[in-house]
Subunit: 241 residues, 2 copies
């Protein structure tokens, strides 16, 4: 394994371990010592990648900035829905994503690191504004308002589902869109959208094939360059709608 790739894997292992701890214990209760114990690397090894717990938390939030699987679609409103479906599908499998929600919801962590909600509202507003220009939305719809309410609704459904129906997040988010979209999308377009739980895994499988990694490899992290995607560090993906 090339040295650079080994370093990348170590960094990722540290981040995942930190994310699991943030998710289980919260930001305050997590210590660097616990991360070291979980990853079984030396203190020096960890400090080579991250110099503090704050830096770990910021990196978790940055890595949760992801639109992996998103591809251009004839309907801009489908792309907006896809962002939410993809995150709902990936979140149960990726501790970095659920840790990012937990850090955003925790008021103390929020004071330190802020949230990515404004960025998500911006991404959603942009896609919905384009959708509206193309006549995909009902005439009265305010793209920014819908994007903002949906960031809230998606986040709350994720939190409550985690308590009431663990492992059902993709279905709940799919049902949420089915309930929201009749008041947002033109009927003719609505009939052609795919809001089902099958869409996200199919998009991810297609992204894997396009990347030449086949079905066995992990989904590559980072942007696909799809419309609405944000670059590392200036976007947000702790939730979406």
């Amino acid at each position: 394994m090339a040295r650079q790739e080994r370093a990348h894997r170590t960094r990722w292992a540290i981040l995942e371990a930190a994310a699991r701890l943030f998710d289980e214990l919260g930001y305050e209760a997590t210590t660097i010592g616990m991360v070291i114990e979980r990853t079984e690397i030396t203190r020096g090894g960890l400090y080579f990648h991250f110099t503090s717990k704050e830096e770990l938390a910021r990196a978790v939030l940055d890595e949760a900035v992801t639109s992996t699987g998103l591809v251009p679609h004839p309907f801009k409103v489908q792309e907006w829905v896809d962002l939410g479906l993809l995150l709902a599908h990936r979140m149960p499998m990726e501790p970095i994503l659920s840790a990012a929600v937990r850090l955003s919801v925790d008021p103390r962590a929020r004071r330190l690191f802020g949230t990515r909600w404004p960025d998500w509202v911006e991404v959603g507003s942009g896609l919905l504004a384009e959708a509206k220009e193309r006549g995909e939305l009902l005439p009265h719809v305010d793209p920014e308002e819908v994007a903002r309410l949906c960031v809230g609704a998606w986040t709350g459904v994720q939190i409550v589902t985690d308590v009431l129906r663990p492992a059902r997040l993709p279905q709940e988010v799919s049902d949420l869109y089915a309930m929201l979209l009749p008041a947002v999308v033109s009927p003719g377009v609505l009939a052609k959208l795919d809001l089902t739980v099958h869409r996200a895994p199919r998009l991810l499988a297609e992204a894997r094939e396009a990347a030449g990694t086949g079905a066995s490899g992990p989904v590559p992290a980072g942007d696909t360059g799809a419309p609405g995607a944000r670059g590392d560090g200036d976007g947000a993906a702790d939730d979406a709608c």
Copy 2:
């Protein structure tokens, strides 16, 4: 002032102080000492009412179980909406309500005290099932599913609004219902519902008049005995939808 009333006021002052601290600092960081400092009562005075921080948290959650202002309405679906509108209106003014959301969202506090979300889903499901029987809802609607998704959506909109648009909660919740209900309620009924921000303050003013306290007194805490209301301690009101 009668001795009993004085004791009641002291208990309430302690609870409000504890709620403000839970809301500002979280459950872990709050101490009994801080509550004493805020209320300016003696340690003995506090322990007369509450023997531990855990008991304070449980009491906050219990007191947030409230349907104050709710009255019977010809449309059961209006009563269900009213629960959410009333809480959105009251929450910015009542620290006990916002503290209850914070305790429910905090995974560590949740492990200790659970959440009231299942109770809210039950209350909502009951009202929506009645609404469906009366033909107020669209035929395909599953009352339990709508109630569950709305508890999530309401909670998330509250959390995100607190960050993005402080003091706008009643309007955001009103907009949330306007977006959700076209896929839930029969068009003829939908046209007759009041989803505006004006409804909750009017209901509360009417409840005050009915209680003979006029506009000057505080809204009496506790149940009105309205349909869908829960008795103290066995219901839930940290959120609703």
